[in-house]
């Protein structure tokens, strides 16, 4: 089992902008927004909920390469972390996942409300739809500091 990567779960649960990237076997990258996220085993496993249609290309890449990258970014502080893994798989959505996505939409809208964005806008942007979501599950094997600045892109080692 790989060493656990640094994980600030308090930060990751705070109404963030979450995005996922995947790449096909030819090195063509694609991306989508993540609608919600939950953690297992103190963050050793991430479950990312995505829209089936919006993430169709990314899901196809994941099925082929199993590689994934995900960023969590706070719209106000700009603090951003990125996690990568190479064991991603698409797993059945749990019954609580839709509620989790709605809570995420609410929290994200509350954060963006400071800048004048409406809940209606955020609700349209994320657009959580019952029966149209999938779950991408993976174990992060690398974490990166990605907050804008000279430290952007620096790999976070366990214990940092």
């Amino acid at each position: 089992m790989s060493r656990p990567v640094p994980m600030d779960l308090g930060f990751l649960r705070g109404g963030l902008s979450i995005s996922l990237a995947a790449a096909d076997s030819h090195g063509i990258a694609t991306l989508c927004r993540v609608l919600g996220c939950h953690f297992e085993d103190s963050g050793r496993v991430l479950n990312l909920i995505v829209d089936l249609d919006k993430a169709a290309e990314a899901l196809a890449c994941i099925e082929t390469t199993r590689r994934v990258a995900v960023t969590f970014s706070h719209p106000i502080t700009n603090r951003t972390l990125q996690f990568k893994g190479c064991d991603a798989q698409i797993v059945p959505v749990q019954s609580a996942d839709l509620d989790l996505c709605r809570v995420h939409t609410r929290d994200f809208a509350a954060v963006l409300g400071v800048y004048g964005w409406t809940h209606e806008y955020v609700d349209t942007l994320l657009d959580v739809r019952e029966g149209h979501v999938a779950c991408v599950r993976f174990s992060p094997d690398a974490a990166f500091e990605q907050t804008p600045g000279p430290q952007a892109g620096v790999r976070m080692e366990p214990g940092t």
Partner: protein, 444 residues
């Protein structure tokens, strides 16, 4: 279902609000994802992304030029994925300067002024555009059709028979057709030299005669790079009013012959568009607003078309200047009232009325020549004789005499109403003096 559209149709997603997200892939097949501060429309098949830090994205695009960026409309929430191919990085020139100015505004808006610095503009070819499926909100209600306003404006410029009228009409068009109330028109002193304001609208002080050095702020950069510069949020780096005030506080800085920049104290949006004629920058059309994001791509488009029309009219009217010879002068009326002292400092041809600065440079030398000739009994002049006067040191090509006369006319109207230049025909004017003059030469 997806459908493709042209880059022009998704350009509004580049206006800021929702940060673009960029996905790349390394040579090892590992994907990477990052938020991007800025995406810039270059032309119908190219965009540029801001390069601010040496990071994994940089490493990836140099190894594998394929990338995908997702952009989102700030009003409708519509999102698009653009498949990109990295071409090169530009670290100087028009594209770089456009993005650097915008990034300064973005940094200021997001509190990242100490962190964001543009190292380069990464230029990408857009291979395809895909609408991300999903709901959207209705767009903002459309305003008046911009083409109608543009048509009206162009027609009004075409009706102007002289430069002075053309300059005023341009700013009037901005106000009446485009609802842009704060504007300034600056003319280049000569290719590569400073610009000076010849017309303004909407400011407390007109600022006529204010000078901007090439490369100074959005106006100076627009002139130097011959490209539009647009800022949607204020930035101290490009704020003229503050910069001018700060420079005035520097010890030893002589501000006695400076005319303050007239801009709004709380300007949030700025747009400067160069007036181009066969590759030369004739001047700059500048607008500003206290509202953030007041000027968007559509305003930039409109002002670029208007500026092109204005440039063509300026070039045409200069060609039509009638080089008429003086045909004799009527005698001057006798000025009345207390004498008016005018002092001329030879080192920079600056002229003061009493203790108040009036004008300097070529326009100052021009005024002094007219005043001396007037003291000798003349009052009617032609532009041709001024062009031939070796003491005025006008360049042989593009002397801008016409705009200098307009500048002089306006400064006199603002600061010295007892002296005036009255147009008496094409290429002819009369010096009107209503008070006795005392002319004093100061050697230094």
């Amino acid at each position: 279902m997806t459908h493709t559209v042209g880059l022009d149709q998704v350009r509004d997603c580049f206006e800021g609000g929702v940060p673009p997200i960029l996905a790349t892939c390394g040579a090892d097949g590992v994907p990477n994802i990052t938020l991007v501060s800025q995406i810039e429309y270059v032309d119908r098949s190219h965009v540029a992304l801001s390069f601010q830090f040496f990071n994994k994205t940089r490493e990836n695009i140099l190894a594998n030029p394929s990338a995908t960026v997702m952009v989102t409309h700030a009003q409708t929430a519509e999102a698009w994925r653009l498949r990109l191919h990295y071409l090169r990085t530009e670290s100087a020139g028009p594209l770089f300067e456009r993005m650097r100015a915008k990034l300064a505004g973005i940094a200021s808006q997001t509190g990242m002024s100490d962190v964001f610095r543009l190292l380069g503009s990464d230029l990408y070819r857009v291979a395809s555009i895909e609408r991300v499926p999903g709901r959207s909100l209705p767009p903002a209600p459309a305003g008046p059709p911009p083409l109608v306003a543009l048509r009206n404006g162009v027609e009004r410029l075409a009706a102007c028979a002289d430069l002075e009228r053309l300059f005023d009409e341009t700013l009037s068009v901005l106000q009446r057709e485009f609802d842009i109330g704060h504007s300034l028109l600056l003319i280049s002193d000569a290719p590569g030299a400073r610009l000076y304001a010849v017309a303004s609208r909407g400011f407390v002080d007109s600022g006529i005669g204010t000078e901007i050095a090439l490369g100074d702020g959005v106006i100076g950069v627009s002139a130097r790079e011959r490209t539009p510069i647009r800022i949607t949020h204020t930035s101290s780096e490009y704020a003229y009013v503050r910069a001018v005030r700060d420079s005035g506080r520097q010890p030893g800085h002589d501000t006695s012959t400076e005319i303050p920049f007239p801009g709004l104290p709380d300007a949030q949006s700025q747009l400067a568009v160069p007036l181009l004629d066969r590759g030369q920058c004739l001047g700059v059309l500048y607008v500003e607003s206290s509202r953030p994001s007041r000027f968007r791509y559509v305003e930039e488009d409109l002002l670029c078309v208007l500026a092109a029309q204005l440039s063509a009219r300026i070039a045409l009217l200069r060609l039509q200047e009638d080089d008429a010879l003086a045909t004799g002068s009527a005698p001057s009326p006798t000025p009345e009232g207390p004498p008016l002292q005018l002092r001329r400092f030879a080192e920079n041809d600056s002229v003061f009325v009493g203790d108040e600065y009036l004008i300097k440079g070529v326009a100052g030398a021009l005024l002094w020549k007219l005043l001396r000739d007037h003291a000798g009994g003349r009052r009617d002049f032609t532009t041709r004789e001024l062009r031939l006067d070796p003491n005025l040191r006008l360049p042989e090509i593009v002397d801008n005499l016409d705009t200098r006369l307009i500048l002089l006319t306006r400064r006199l109207a603002e600061r010295c109403p007892w002296i005036a230049l009255d147009k008496t025909g094409r290429g002819r004017f009369r010096l009107r003096v209503e008070r006795p003059l005392q002319l004093v030469e100061v050697s230094r």
